[in-house]
């Protein structure tokens, strides 16, 4: 299991390219075969395939071959990692302040 930081590094790297972002946006609407994904782009198929490989390697998409057609699908988990980092920080601070409030109320009781 790669560390969270490593996953994020790869995700951000994968997102740092307009073609790959377009592909992800397209896959956000549902799975699609490679030929359909390649259609809007003016590039040779091998170059396009490389972009797909980058996305697949970092886990943002996965593909499955059915007969002669390879169908790609979005895998939202790594994208979630970027969001999760903030959630972890929030949880830490919420817990900290819950404890502070409990402590303050106990201090107030003592003063009475």
């Amino acid at each position: 299991m790669p560390s969270e930081t490593l996953v994020l590094d790869h995700v951000f790297q994968a997102l740092a390219n307009p073609t790959r972002r377009d592909v992800l946006a397209r896959l956000g609407r549902g799975p699609a075969p490679m030929t359909e994904l390649a259609k809007p782009f003016q590039m040779a198929l091998p170059s396009f395939l490389q972009h797909l490989q980058v996305l697949e390697k970092c886990g943002l998409v996965r593909s499955q071959k059915t007969g002669r057609v390879r169908v790609f699908e979005l895998e939202p988990q790594p994208l979630q990692a970027a969001e999760d980092w903030m959630k972890t920080q929030r949880l830490l601070w919420e817990t900290r302040l819950d404890q502070l409030d409990a402590f303050l109320l106990s201090q107030k009781e003592k003063q009475k």
Partner: protein
């Protein structure tokens, strides 16, 4: 207070937590600035704060030692930046006492712990309204993006993708 900075939180990177509690603000201030009291609440359970050193002045050290449930200890250096008694307390984890810059603390599994915290408190009726603003850098991505000459746009791109993914998960 007139010369103090106005903070503009970045919702992508910063946390704003606001609480109203039925105790006078002097008690809230004490809880944040007295080592004995910090030990009693500062670290989310089951972790504990086992040591705390506070030199309450700008540039003064704010040091804590955390202990995990397994007994492993972690030193946390910090430095106070701004102190207005009973009103505002600012410290950062990116410097130690005396404003000495620290190597970016990266802990496996906890990611990057670089932050600046701004605690403000004001009277609200008989109680206190206090706010914790936690300012983060862009630990995972900023350097990478600058290396790639890719400053703007990624935030929006990521937001859109996350939105798309969420829609897909619902749909």
């Amino acid at each position: 207070m007139t010369n103090t900075i106005k903070h503009q939180p970045d919702p992508r990177l910063d946390l704003v937590l606001e609480r109203v509690i039925d105790v006078p603000k002097e008690l809230v201030w004490k809880a944040w600035t007295t080592p004995d009291q910090i030990l009693q609440w500062f670290t989310p359970a089951p972790w504990k704060t086992v040591e705390c050193e506070i030199d309450l002045r700008p540039g003064g050290a704010f040091k804590t030692v955390f202990q995990s449930p397994e007994g492993d200890k972690t030193d946390n250096e910090g430095c106070f930046l701004e102190i207005i008694e009973n009103e505002k307390l600012v410290w950062t984890s990116v410097m130690a006492g005396g404003y000495r810059p620290l190597a970016t603390p990266v802990v496996e599994g906890c990611d990057n712990l670089a932050f600046t915290a701004v605690i403000t408190m004001e009277a609200a009726g008989d109680g206190t309204k206090y706010t914790a603003l936690v300012i983060h850098g862009d630990p995972e991505s900023k350097k990478k993006h600058e290396e790639m000459g890719f400053h703007d746009g990624w935030g929006a791109a990521l937001d859109q993708l996350v939105e798309l993914v969420k829609k897909q998960l619902v749909g």
